[in-house]
């Protein structure tokens, strides 16, 4: 029956308020049981709240808050991993992403969301699911495909920085992460870590690539660097990026094939 293309219960979503925002799971595996989805989601929820307890800068008792207060600490492997990833991102972006150059001390918030999304995706995979996304308020880790076939990945739109009814590009995201920073929709305020002022390189930046933690950091860094970010971004294998400066859209890498080069011509949705 052709209605099988709309398999009952084929799209299953779960939602959790955490980190001051919302994280969702969207499962498209037609053959997975509801019990499997529920079990995967329970493990994701537990991880989301664990990450919040360890990494939140808004919790006095979090590990990160203790680090920010100074002194020497022995930290668990996951905290050490986040610190390593921060060092890596700082090096790759030539300092445009620098969680040590912020007021109040070391703040890995710009990398933790994507890092945790990838960890959650691994948990979901461990429950036998293959086609799903973890969406942390607009930063997505995508696995498998939206229609459960191998022919495509996940068609993800990129928010228009000015027009809530438009997207400026459509990207097929396959087993990758996509992150956008600087959007007026979210009221983001990216700081330039070295100018100690609001970042002015780009109004909005989006990256697509194999790693959620790095995606989170690179998008932020491109808001700082703008078009000149090509100097370091082009050296990253497997990554595509896009920056919006004034009304001009500039992109690098194979992911961006359907965009308009100028916001005035953005695709109406």
């Amino acid at each position: 029956m052709s209605a099988a293309t709309f398999l009952p219960g084929r799209v299953r979503t779960r939602l959790e308020h955490v980190w001051g925002t919302v994280v969702t799971l969207d499962v498209r595996d037609a053959d997975a049981s509801d019990a499997a989805v529920d079990a995967a989601w329970e493990s994701v929820r537990a991880e989301l709240h664990r990450v919040d307890r360890v990494f939140s800068t808004f919790r006095e008792d979090s590990v990160i808050s203790r680090l920010r207060r100074g002194g020497t600490h022995v930290v668990a492997d996951d905290v050490a991993d986040v610190i390593d990833r921060c060092l890596e991102a700082r090096r790759l972006t030539r300092g445009a992403f620098d969680p040590w150059a912020v007021e109040g001390g070391f703040d890995p918030s710009g990398i933790v969301k994507g890092w945790a999304a990838d960890r959650c995706a691994a948990l979901v995979r461990a429950h036998g699911l293959r086609s799903f996304t973890i969406d942390a308020a607009g930063d997505l880790t995508c696995r498998g495909s939206a229609d459960g076939t191998a022919a495509s990945g996940w068609p993800i739109g990129i928010a228009h920085p000015d027009d809530p009814q438009a997207v400026i590009a459509l990207v097929d995201v396959r087993d990758a992460a996509i992150a956008t920073s600087g959007t007026s929709q979210r009221g983001d305020h990216v700081r330039d870590p070295h100018a100690h002022a609001a970042a002015r390189g780009a109004r909005q930046a989006t990256v697509v690539g194999p790693d959620g933690a790095l995606a989170d950091a690179l998008a932020t860094a491109l808001v700082v660097s703008g078009v000149e970010g090509a100097e370091w971004f082009a050296a990253l294998p497997g990554w595509s990026g896009q920056v919006v400066v004034d009304d001009a859209v500039t992109s690098w890498g194979p992911a961006f094939t359907q965009e308009t080069p100028h916001l005035k011509g953005a695709k109406e949705r």
Binding site: V22, D26, D135, W154, I156, P164
Partner: protein, 149 residues
Amino acid sequence: MKRAVLVGTGTVAGVAAVLAFNPNPARTSASAVNGRVTQSTTGSTTTGGSTSDTTSTSTATGDAVDIGRGYGTIQLEVTVDSGRIVDITALAVPENDGHSARISQQAVPMLVQQALNAQSADIAGISGATYTSLGFVQSLKSALAQVGM
């Protein structure tokens, strides 16, 4: 009936994934769409959303969904005609402070348009979108459930 309702729910649940829909409209078979239309018409007559069973227009009010963190609630009214969403009105939007009000002003019209376009939409998510969308789709789902979609 049961099956069709599940079909409709599956489609609407796609909205919950921040406006996720069939990624490839070309593969949306006519029979699948017809099935939703037919069953939704049946649903509207049985839910009493209309005073006459010769019309299939129904209006339903969704749950008021608290989007959390003190931002406020969102609640939608949905009008369905022959299995299609023809109108969505926001009865309440998050506006407990300037920030959430600003997000609402920008996000809600987008979400309304996305939902109205949904039967031909080709986007499974939006990078950089606001989480107001999640409260929106929860309220939308509850409203559509009332009219049998």
